[in-house]
């Protein structure tokens, strides 16, 4: 399956990562979500967190680039969620 091409039944598999305090707050580790109703980053969050509301401070990335929760995802994408960054 090439990345970006949905399966024949429109199911998508998205790799998911959580970092820092968000990872620690997850009740159990999760590294991917799948389904035919996943369209956006927000959908990935909902699937990974059992429909919990995304806190306003949460940042996200897709395929290693910052993104917005309204951005689309495609099959095979890697999506990450994390709190405000505190490097330097």
């Amino acid at each position: 399956m090439m990345s970006g091409i949905p399966n024949s039944d429109n199911r998508m598999t998205i790799k998911v990562k959580f970092f820092a305090s968000l990872r620690e707050a997850m009740p159990q580790a999760i590294d991917e979500v799948d389904g035919s109703d996943i369209r956006t980053i927000a959908d990935v969050w909902a699937r990974a967190t059992h429909d919990s509301a995304m806190p306003g401070h949460v940042l996200c990335s897709v395929n290693l680039e910052h993104c917005e929760s309204t951005d689309s995802v495609t099959d095979g994408d890697e999506v990450a969620f994390f709190p405000p960054v505190t490097g330097g």
Partner: protein, 144 residues
């Protein structure tokens, strides 16, 4: 341009010497650098150690993009970012940014830009361990 993510203590002066010695001979009229060091206090509490988490892959990519942006905005000869991850002790260097240019304005301004952009965009997260044994995530960076 170079980006280094390191898991052990590094000597910022040695890194800067290596950077400047590799510059084209005679071109740079100015080199500006910033060294960020771990403090032993934060928000009124004594901090005994810290863990710096990052997002491997995205971190390197974001830091390289920040240097690219600086090279578009200023006339820079070369730039370097070194950032520590893992377990860190007070006094350890966390970050080094170095910029060389023909003139000081570009070196100063681009070096400041590298640090501010890194603070806003690069996916690092600090977790402090306090003297009472408790730990906490740093929620946000200071404004300056």
């Amino acid at each position: 341009m170079s980006v280094l993510i390191v898991e052990t203590a590094f000597d910022p002066e040695a890194e800067q010497r290596a950077f400047t010695s590799a510059l084209p001979n005679g071109q740079a009229g100015a080199t500006a650098s910033f060294i960020g060091t771990m403090r032993n206090r934060n928000e009124g509490d004594e901090v005994v150690s810290m863990t710096l988490e990052h997002y491997p892959g995205m971190t390197d990519r974001e830091l390289a993009a920040i240097i690219d942006e600086a090279m578009q905005r200023w006339r820079i000869i070369n730039a370097l970012i070194v950032h520590r991850v893992g377990n860190i002790q007070p006094g350890d260097t966390i970050v080094l940014t170095v910029v060389s240019a023909e003139h000081r304005a570009a070196a100063f301004d681009a070096c400041r830009f590298l640090m501010e952009a890194l603070k806003q965009r690069a996916p690092f997260w600090k977790k402090e361990t306090l003297s009472d044994g408790s730990s906490r995530w740093v929620e946000k960076n200071t404004t300056g």
